[in-house]
Symmetry: none
Subunit: 201 residues, 4 copies
Amino acid sequence: METVKKAKITDNKSLKMAKLRDAAYELFTSIGVHNTRIDDIVKNAGVAKGTFYLYCKDKYDLVDKVILRKSTDVINNAMKAVADKQQKQEMNFLDNVIVFVDHLVEYFKSDKKLLALIYKNLSWDLYEKALTYEEMDGAKQTFIQKFITNGGDSEIARQRLFIIVSMVGAVCYNSIVLGIPYPIDRIKPELYRSITRIIAS
Amino acid sequence: METVKKAKITDNKSLKMAKLRDAAYELFTSIGVHNTRIDDIVKNAGVAKGTFYLYCKDKYDLVDKVILRKSTDVINNAMKAVADKQQKQEMNFLDNVIVFVDHLVEYFKSDKKLLALIYKNLSWDLYEKALTYEEMDGAKQTFIQKFITNGGDSEIARQRLFIIVSMVGAVCYNSIVLGIPYPIDRIKPELYRSITRIIAS
Amino acid sequence: METVKKAKITDNKSLKMAKLRDAAYELFTSIGVHNTRIDDIVKNAGVAKGTFYLYCKDKYDLVDKVILRKSTDVINNAMKAVADKQQKQEMNFLDNVIVFVDHLVEYFKSDKKLLALIYKNLSWDLYEKALTYEEMDGAKQTFIQKFITNGGDSEIARQRLFIIVSMVGAVCYNSIVLGIPYPIDRIKPELYRSITRIIAS
Amino acid sequence: METVKKAKITDNKSLKMAKLRDAAYELFTSIGVHNTRIDDIVKNAGVAKGTFYLYCKDKYDLVDKVILRKSTDVINNAMKAVADKQQKQEMNFLDNVIVFVDHLVEYFKSDKKLLALIYKNLSWDLYEKALTYEEMDGAKQTFIQKFITNGGDSEIARQRLFIIVSMVGAVCYNSIVLGIPYPIDRIKPELYRSITRIIAS
DNA sequence: CATGAATGAGACTTCATTCAT
DNA sequence: TATGAATGAAGTCTCATTCAT
């Protein structure tokens, strides 16, 4: 009974946090972090204002939590997409990268607000948190490891991956969010060609 | 005399605006846009609070003005660097790009705060303003035009330039500002190799 | 005209401060410092909330300002009473002290809330401020000086004055404010006898 | 067994109350009543927040409880000191008063925070409670009675005691807590002389 | 009796903006 | 044009108190 009770309380806690995160996500992406008031978040989440401060240090702490959760979800899905495709057909490292990137691009096409939110609030702290995120289970971490290893796992290979990630992120942001006059679909061929040429030895 | 008076007034206006811009630049880069209050800006600029509103719509209007001015300066210098080198030795298009990029990279290495400011406050509106910026004289616009033309001036060439600009910006930002663990000097070889491979047909 | 304008502004400033002080005094003495909200003060003073922070650091800064002003007034009046009586009849040092003390006692009988306010918020900082208070003009300071000098101006005399001040303050507070069952009028004879016996050599 | 169980529960109750009182005392004297939150008290006491409300009406109720307990202790000790000395040598009423006062003064010299706490939170209610405090056993009450009786037990004698108590309290507070520039040891001779002169007929 | 998560009223404070001078 | 005192809406955050477990 003790265990059941504790579990229930824990669930309740997760529930409140989830409510706050969901409400905040909606507001952050629709009217922006700056224009979102704590009052709005708690009203939409259906909790009291004090409850907010039970779970978050301040608004920007919640921004981090939202981004962490959402980006984890997106990346998990992309990893799953690669694994699924891998099962159907044998793919080399480049194929893996392209499938992974394409999944991200397609997702952000459909959720440009999230892309904007993530991009505007990046910090190395957050990156580090994301990499050691407790909710990212062991299997996923292994995937990342493999991903890197497949690239050759040399310093050079890691640097190329870093350049590719930076490039893809920036092109997506500029194209999808800022609306710079190359629609993402039009620039995709050149983007993927660039990836190919960076990876190719 | 009439003319002199007018010029004086204009100078006076420019002076106030310049004071505001300089004060704002210092504050934006040292404590961040969010933490900078109009009060701080006018105090440091040595003008009255009301005066601020004679020159700027609001704080974010001034952010744009500051970025526009500073980025124009940086780009002008990079263009000058390319022109100078071109005079000393014949360079092909790729050489031009590399020299241009390297100038930017080196500059931002020495002024990471400005890089952060620009990167965090990019908007397509601002890009457009920058491209049609009145203070960017004709000669400079011609330079840009040539730069693009040299690349081949096809749609494909423009896309590749766009990808390169995005990539370089993101790598610089991630490396210099976020401090992601590839120091810019260590990643430069791979970055320039990537540029080369993207441009090369 | 410049001077007139400046004077007007200064008057205006004094006016706002006076309004705040008056409103605060009423609230502090009627419902207590703890129960007085900034909102109440500004509403009663008829100024905007921001104006409060233009003149005071926080609520406790205003408490100090109120006490400083009020206690200065009370002491000034007591000094005036002594001076007036002195003109009518020759008085020795002891007479002076008694007249002074009696004036204070009678005043606080009529304004027990002020006594409570002052007593509860005493601090040595405030004492020091009171002693160097700019609004206490030179003539008054001379009075205090004479007062002390008349007592003999030895270390011993100063200590006795300190003991008397402490004693009178405490007896008044206990009797008038706490309502300890010796009404001030009933205990006055013994209080003044005590003063006499402390001063008498 | 029933009795034992009851005693145990009572002890348990007393224990929680004691924990709360001790924790509160530490906080009240170190950071002040105003800055002490219920949260701090219960955390330091090692009990749950709800428990606080099983034992106290609110924070100020606990302030009273703490003061009542501590001041009872201090007074009990002072009374004991008088009794002890009385046994060794015959003392008249004045001697008794001086010994009693000196004991208090010496104690508060070593615990100025407690003096501040008591002084700032006096109320007649609390005085009354102190006088009828259940934990002050009969013997002690008799002592007080004797103390008063020795003074003559006339209205006048009671008034003089009241004046002395007020005087000593105020001088101690001003000297020890506020730090008004007469160190308590330096002013003691005059303070005791004042007591003597007030008591002497 | 004991717990501590949740509450929400309301305190405090900031600061962009206005406008009379 | 230039000023800066005044404004007050908007915001953050606290913390005493409750109550379901």
